[in-house]
């Protein structure tokens, strides 16, 4: 076996061990080294050259990135998740014919969908969904994310929150927590548009917060343009600040006049 590959395999074992121990710092360091080592292999994306060890190399690289994604979830680092996921993706898409499918593929894809939902990137969510094969939709992990999205879109926020209990994989919990916050933001955004003001009690219920304290903390942190006065939450400020679009009348008039002039000039 190629000495480089052996080295990678050894580091990978250490990395896996660290990951199991939940030793995030060590695993991060090891991962970083692993990634640099991986750049030395010409069989990996984007070059994808045929080398004698290409299958082993590809498999181990895929494993590394799958672990990297899991690690990022554990570290609750969304950016790292995104980075690692995108680096992992070519292994699913472009090497499908050369490697046996990975057991982790669907959970990770589902995780990514969830992440997009959490970050409220619905367009990308659907793009990802379109790429998936029809069979994949049957997978529990994917199905879960799709159902969540549907509830989210319908506005059945209670169903979204209750779905936390039915997660198909333990890594999903982190995102489900985040999702609750996304839902709250969504509700807050809607209320802002829908009402001029709300009583504290109503607002609490609406935003699914348990106490006045939590509400005021939320307002100060997330919505500094709201105002709590006399037991009522005013959204007015946000509305006023919304800039109204001005009609560019002068340019329009000028353009129309120039058209008229051009018409007169017909030779």
């Amino acid at each position: 076996m190629d000495p480089k590959l052996t080295e990678v395999v050894q580091s990978f074992e250490r990395f896996k061990a660290a990951l199991v121990r939940n030793d995030l710092e060590t695993s991060n360091n090891l991962l970083s080294q692993l990634k640099v080592m991986l750049t030395g292999f010409r069989s990996l994306p984007p070059l994808l050259e045929e080398t004698p060890n290409s299958v082993q190399e590809l498999t181990i690289a895929r494993d590394i990135y799958e672990r990297a994604v899991v690690l990022s979830v554990k570290a609750e680092d969304q950016d790292a998740f995104e980075r690692d996921f995108f680096q992992l993706k070519p292994y699913y898409v472009d090497t499908a014919g050369r490697l046996p499918p990975s057991a982790q593929e669907y959970p990770i894809l589902g995780l990514n969908l969830l992440r997009l939902l959490v970050q409220n990137r619905i367009a990308e969510f659907h793009t990802e969904l379109e790429i998936l094969s029809p069979g994949a939709m049957e997978n529990l992990c994917i199905k879960h994310a799709v159902e969540l999205e549907q509830s989210f879109m319908e506005g059945a926020y209670n169903r979204v929150l209750s779905a936390r209990k039915t997660v198909p994989h333990e890594t999903y919990v982190y995102f489900m927590d985040l999702l609750a916050k996304t839902v709250r933001d969504e509700i807050a955004g809607c209320s802002e548009k829908a009402y001029d003001y709300l009583s504290l009690a109503d607002a609490k219920q609406m935003l699914m917060l348990s106490s006045d304290k939590e509400l005021s903390a939320y307002v100060t942190e997330e919505r500094p343009d709201w105002e709590i006065k006399n037991g009522v939450v005013y959204f007015q400020k946000a509305k006023e600040s919304a800039p109204c679009k001005e009609i560019p009348s002068m340019p329009l008039i000028n353009q129309t006049l120039s058209y008229a002039r051009e018409l007169e000039r017909i030779i």
């Binding site: 640099v36 750049t39 994306p45 994808l48 980075r83 992992l88 898409v93 030779i267």
Partner: protein
Amino acid sequence: MATMVSSASGLLAMLNESHPALKLHALINLNTCVDYFWHEISTSVPIIESLSEDEEFDQRQLAALVASKVFYHLGELNDALSYALSAGPLFDVSEDSDYVHAILAKAIDEYAIFKTKAAESNQEAEKVDPRLEAIVERMLWKCILDQKFQQAIGIAIECRRLDKLEEAITRSDNIPVTLDYCINLAHSFVTLKEYRSEVLRVIVKVFQSLPDPDYLRICQRLMSLDESAGVAMILEKLLQSEQDDALMAFQIAFDLVDNERQAFLLSVKGRFPDPVLRPTENSQLVSNDEPGSVQSGSSLAANDQVAASEDIQMSDGANAPRGIVVEADEERYNERVAKLKGILSGETVIKLTLQFLYSNNRSDLLILKTIKQSVEMRNSVCHSATIYANAIMHAGTTVDTFLRENLDWLSRATNWAKFSATAGLGVIHKGHLQQGRSLMAPYLPQSGTAGGGSPYSEGGALYALGLIHANHGEGIKQFLRDSLRSTNVEVIQHGACLGLGLAALGTADEEIYDDIKNVLYTDSAVAGEAAGIGMGLLMVGTASEKASEMLAYAHETQHEKIIRGLALGIALTVYGREEEADTLIEQMTRDQDPILRYGGMYALAMAYRGTANNKAIRQLLHFAVSDVSDDVRRTAVLALGFVLSSEPEQTPRIVSLLSESYNPHVRYGAAMAVGISCAGTGLSEAISLLEPLTSDVVDFVRQGALIAMAMVMIQTSETCDSRVGSFRRQLEKIILDKHEDTMSKMGAILASGILDAGGRNVTIRLLSKNRHDKVTAVVGLAVFSQFWYWYPLIYFISLAFSPTAFIGLNYDINVPKFELLSNAKPSLFEYPKPTTPPAATSAVKLPTAVLSTSAKAKARAKKDADQKANAEKLTEDSISASQKGKSPPEKDGDSMMQVDGSSSSVEKKVTPEPEPTFEILTNPARVVPAQEKYIKFLEDSRYSPVSLAPSGFVLLKDLQPEDAEVLSLHLTDTPYSIMAPASTTAAQQGPPPAAAMAVDEEPQPPQPFEYTP
């Protein structure tokens, strides 16, 4: 690559990794696949950009290169370029990819724009990005190394890197060809005049550094730069060496004269020393160059001497050091200088041209006769149109047979018509410098005997003198000035102003200017108009302060005529100044007064003549469609013709839309624009565009189209383009049609005049052989186009006529017998066949039976004459257009007797043979422009030409100087032959010509004359 990845997102994600090795890996891979995934990468460009700006990242250049490629794919060339520059050496100039090509082009563009701006603002403050400069220089180097010199030259010129230009030229493998390319480039692509001069200076420098310099070209360039000292130096050097070099000097002089820059020529001439032995030299000069003037009186010679001595004074300083010449060579040198001066003064050229036009005159009097008979007597417009047509047909030939034959008919011209009739003589005798004054003497204002003739004929005569001496008026200026000062009749003033303007064209003579200005300030409409034009003619191309003075007066005066004259005059002053004239043009085109805006159009036309400058074209098109005044719109379209005169092929395309305008003025303008820019080309597209316009619904559009068509078709034979024949028939039909509008009838009459102009040996040419603009011709056409308002200005078209001749000259400036080959069917370029006399049917229509019988008698006489003439034509000394390819039958050119003897035998041979594919032309030969490309010099000839020009004046080197030369046209050695046209006319004039034209009296019966068809 085994398989392709489907997305670059993985790599992009890697860019966000913290480890620099990963970033580097990502960048390297992105760089290779950027062409496929730029759309994905484009969203991450900010990351790459920040990497390229990150001081700590050691692969910034790579990041910049990737960013540059992405921007290139996004179409953001500016950003792409700036990142490519940051990429430094990683950006490979020699890479053969779209990206590199695009960026390089952009870089060069940017650099060129930058350099141009820097040059325009004259500030060195802004420094060019050294990286940009480095890339451009790398590119230039590469071009030079790859032998792509044309590219290198193009880039260098555009980037204003004259140092590189010089390098590229000197390193090229074929320097003369490269220089040619360079010159073309300078003239067609460098729009800024100032910069063009710089480029030309570099070219001249390279030329001069060549071991075997091409003096012809150097002098052409020096002329464009207006460096008379340089030209004079070269000429002097040539004159002092071998005979062959002297021939070259003469050739240069002829070529310079061809460009018609009078001021420049005078200045070159002035730089030559006056011969040391002054009295003998002068007599030699006179006998060499002006044999005719000996008889015509000493006044002219005296005038010349005065002019010469003036010149010498001017150049005294320059000549002082060159005094010492070896005694033996002195005489030879002096003789050469005298010859050279004769050429430079234009006299030799004019004389030879006159001689050529006279001896080769083939005008068809029958056409005129038909016109004359079909035109109603009382219709003065058509009557004078016929007179104009006659003048144009015989322009420069000195043949006034038609006038002489029809004195009675002529006498119907009264008032202004008489003015034009008299002025017409000037056109006929154009260039007859020696005899001009005496020819016109009967009509000129007589000092002392007040009220001798009518003011109209006197004014016309002064105008005629101007036409005779156009652009060569040294001898006549004083007389015209005196006449102007001594009269206060506005008609005479009118004629004198025009005459003075013509004679002193472009000389910017202050005294004359003041004289004309005085006339202008009398505020008389008729005189003022001519004064305005005259001032313009005087100041052509000077862009002097006078223009604002004229503009001020144009605002002051009430008379539209004066404003119009001044407007045109102002336009003429900015002739050829290009962007220097922009302020004035702006001022005029924004004026309230439509007449001044109209002048502004002419100013645009004059300033940008023959440049095809895009800005000027755009401006003109804008005015053509947006101005409120019809006059301005018409003129704007017409002016396009001048601007595009260097690229006639473009004009029909540009004005084709305008020619379908609803506005007849615009249509008229379109027709004239095509006529002006395509004049003499016989361009098929031009004819197709004009054809529908000749049957337009509006009469003046028809008129314009007919005239324009004639200008385009001039000297195109029916064999070349069958539409010429149908156009001739159309003209005849219009002229004969009683119900035709006067306007179009006049157009048709003028058109037939132009079609057969100058005895069919001239064409309208706005560019000289060397593609310089001909000042006189352009100015002539500009003023000619004013005939819309003032018919007598029609005569200005004669300034645009240039003879289509090949005239070979030996060392003595004589015309030796010399043959050249025209490698085309003779019928393609022969003269149009003489018209047959009108058939009986048309004769019946005529009012009196007398005319029809005379016509028949004429026909009979003509038939006889025709047969004879046909035979004569074949062997006539001058030209052998119809000579059917056999070896030239005649052994000597100047004996008519022998010709008659041999004619019958030639005739027999001619008829049955199929047309040969070539013909032999004999010097001096008629070579029409379309024929030039078929002209070849015979190799085994006794003479070899100094320059390979297919037309114009060519010096011939005698390879057998010991043999006696046979001259086909005697010029300097036989005063009789030069006197021929003059003496015959003088003989025919017999009785005092004053009486002949003094119309109020009974006209004298015409003198007997010899009819030559």
